[in-house]
């Protein structure tokens, strides 16, 4: 406990120092928000494994490390990296952030419809403070979630996306978060608190991709919060591809609030990071909503990946689906918690949770925990979880047809993943994840170019 107090004190001291310098830009209300969030963080402290929500994920390594706030880096991101990471040629609109700071010279929103706003959060606070402040921190709960509180107190920059009523954004909007060492001579661990706010109007439609990339193998901490206010009858497809350094910590909260008849989808691919936690919270706050959450995690070595989902069916006639798959090797550890709450008035709810895990080694571990909390009486909810190894019968069958062991194993692993890859509707992104998966499979090259192995 004493130790924990000290850990919070580090952030408190930094906050006190930064409060009068870097953090007091923007509207007055923002500084009050930061102070309030900081106060809540001080009260909450870092979660421990005694906390029911953090039973299987120990963040003491994050709490114990002294991270210094990122500064605008003097290390340039080279053209080849940018081209690779921004899907050059696909025409995505993009904002690029390096160590949390908006890099306008690397960003490109020139092809964007005039009606759509895609700007940095800092710019948004200057240009339309009232709109931003009406939504910022209204969805992601910093009063009970320590990491969200920490982000809210310290957020430097991030993205602001506003899609007005009836507008359909043609191409995906990519938010590319690149982390590089603080400067060329220092390997001091840094912390970045990216913040994303997405507001969409009635009957609008947009696809947003958040890419997290660590260049190099340094220790750092990404503590991200994304808030999405999805308008009535609006559609959002949200993707996250997380490829942090394998020594990095990545804690992210995605809060999606859906209005009547809206259609929200989120797909999270977790590839990098040492300790990874994806909090995905959805409130279905109007009738007739559809929510589709999916994800793939492929930890190896000593990676730890925790997907923590909460879908709150607040209104009737909503459908939600959670579909997560994991492939674990070496000493990797994965956690899946999928909770569906069905409120008293949320009749005719249809909720489905599925979590499937494939263990490739004896020392890999999965804790899976589907939960249903139902207060309505006319609902349909199902959940299912599996943890298994490669099917011996299937392996033998393939081998009796002449396919050698390694190829047969790869084929089965790839087949297991392909179902979830199909959930990624942006072809270039699916291809990217597909290629990373193939790189990791023995003889993965054999399957390159085959779509769904058909």
């Amino acid at each position: 406990m004493i130790e924990l107090m000290q850990e919070q004190d580090t952030y408190s001291a930094v906050f006190a120092r930064m409060e009068t310098e870097t953090l007091d830009g923007g509207p007055e209300a923002l500084l009050s928000l930061r102070k309030d969030a900081m106060q809540h963080f001080e009260e909450l402290g870092f979660p421990t494994t005694k906390d029911e929500q953090w039973l299987y994920t120990n963040v003491s390594a994050i709490a114990k490390t002294t991270f210094c706030p990122a500064t605008r880096p003097d290390v340039a991101v080279d053209a080849a990296t940018l081209e690779r990471e921004s899907f050059a040629g696909c025409g995505f609109h993009r904002l690029v952030f390096v160590n949390g700071f908006f890099a306008s010279e690397l960003s490109d929103t020139t092809e964007l419809d005039d009606k759509v706003t895609v700007i940095s959060l800092t710019d948004a606070l200057k240009q339309q403070p009232d709109t931003v402040m009406a939504h910022l921190a209204q969805y992601a709960d910093y009063k009970t979630h320590a990491f969200a509180a920490l982000n809210t107190a310290f957020m430097e920059d991030g993205a602001f996306i506003h899609v007005p009523k009836g507008v359909v954004v043609d191409k995906p909007i990519q938010l590319l978060f690149i982390t590089v060492p603080n400067n060329e001579t220092s390997n001091e661990p840094i912390v970045v608190h990216p913040r994303v706010l997405i507001i969409t109007g009635e009957s609008s439609q947009v696809t947003v991709l958040e890419s997290y990339v660590g260049l190099g193998e340094q220790v750092y901490f990404t503590n991200a919060v994304t808030e999405i206010a999805l308008g009535e009858n609006a559609v959002i497809d949200h993707y996250k591809v997380q490829r942090e350094s394998t020594k990095a910590y990545h804690i992210a909260t995605m809060q999606l609030n859906q209005q009547r008849a809206s259609n929200g989808a989120s797909h999270v691919t977790s590839l990098g990071g040492d300790i990874v936690r994806n909090n995905i919270n959805v409130v279905l706050d109007g009738e007739g909503c559809n929510c589709n959450l999916s994800g793939l995690y492929i930890p190896r070595g000593k990676q730890h990946v925790d997907n923590h989902l909460l879908v709150d069916h607040a209104k009737a006639h909503c459908d939600s689906r959670e579909f997560f798959k994991g492939i674990l090797d070496d000493d990797a550890h994965a956690v899946f918690t999928g909770k569906i709450i069905v409120r008293k008035d949320a009749q005719k709810t249809d909720g489905k949770q599925t979590n499937r895990n494939l263990l490739l080694s004896d020392s890999a571990r999965v804790d899976t925990n589907p939960q249903l909390e139902i207060f309505a009486n006319d609902v349909k909810c199902t959940h299912g979880a599996t943890i298994g190894q490669l099917d011996d019968d299937a392996l033998f069958y393939l081998k009796t047809r002449g396919i050698e062991t390694e190829a047969a194993r790869s084929l089965l692993i790839y087949a297991f993943a392909s179902e979830i890859l199909d959930e990624i509707k942006i072809e270039a992104v699916r291809e990217q994840v597909n290629n990373i998966l193939l790189d990791r499979l023995p003889q993965g090259d054999r399957f390159r170019g085959f779509k769904g192995l058909q």
Binding site: D393, Y397, T400, R401, F450, L453
Partner: protein, 267 residues
């Protein structure tokens, strides 16, 4: 009845020699000294009651590692195959049509079969086929068992009916062109139309260089695939061998009739 061979100079005239084969699973001995020799071009049938070791024999021949071979040897075309992986045996020309074909979700049948064919072709020193050449190649083979081309687009065996699964096994056999095919209860559960299709497929592939070991529970199949020899497997041993008329005798009198006189002589 022994048939006369045109290929007597063929060094593989002894296609398969099983000598005193003992196999167990978890200390439980299932095969207790099986002896069987199959020459090139012959069709042998193994019949026997449930639990006699028929499927174990098929799996051991294909190389399933859940069974431990404790004694004896298996020579395939003169080579001892006991140390070979299942895929190596397949490349040498062994094929097992499964009693219960395995469903493999996410793996397309066309992809799977092309990977299999190319592994075998590579081993034979033949050129690997690309997707287009492969489709051309399988077109003929599909007609062997009247397979619907749509099955190629589906995951391996997933959602196939019982009859489709068995037909797919014979189709795979036609594609891979093995020299020794083991059919493990390929007839079980088939209606008469499907049975005829499967039997026709097998018969169309009979030739002097290819041998079959047809494992069945029911004499009915042998009306359509007429074997050269019939063996009766009981309690892990072949207790009687004969021509195709032996199957009829079994049908009429049952296994207990066969077992009784042999008990003394095999003890």
């Amino acid at each position: 009845m022994p048939r006369s061979f045109k290929n007597e100079k063929d060094p593989w005239i002894q296609m398969l020699e099983i000598k005193n084969l003992h196999a167990c699973v978890e200390d439980n001995e299932i095969l207790k000294g099986v002896n069987l020799t199959i020459k090139a071009g012959e069709v042998h049938s193994i019949m026997g009651p449930n639990g006699s070791g028929k499927s174990t024999l098929a799996q051991v021949l294909a190389g399933r590692d859940t069974y431990e071979v404790t004694q004896g040897e298996i020579l395939f075309k003169g080579k001892n195959i006991l140390d070979m992986e299942p895929n190596e045996r397949a490349c040498e020309g062994m094929f097992l049509a499964f009693q219960y074909p395995v469903e493999i979700p996410g793996v397309g049948t066309a992809y799977f079969l092309r990977a299999a064919l190319n592994a075998v072709r590579k081993h034979r020193g033949q050129e690997e086929l690309d997707a287009a050449d492969f489709l051309e190649y399988v077109k003929d083979k599909m007609s062997v068992v009247d397979m619907d081309a749509k099955l190629l687009q589906r995951s391996v065996n997933e959602g196939f009916s019982g009859g489709e699964k068995k037909r797919s096994e014979i189709f795979q056999m036609a594609v891979l062109e093995p020299s020794m095919a083991i059919l493990d209860e390929t007839d079980s559960g088939l209606d008469i139309d499907a049975l005829k299709i499967v039997a026709d497929g097998v018969n169309s592939m009979r030739n002097p260089e290819r041998s079959f070991l047809v494992i069945t529970h029911y004499q009915r199949l042998l009306n359509y695939i007429v074997p050269d020899y019939v063996h009766v497997l009981i309690d892990g041993r072949i207790v009687r061998s004969g021509g195709k008329e032996l199957a009829l005798e079994l049908e009429e009198k049952g296994y207990s009739h066969i077992n009784a006189p042999m008990a003394g002589s095999t003890a």
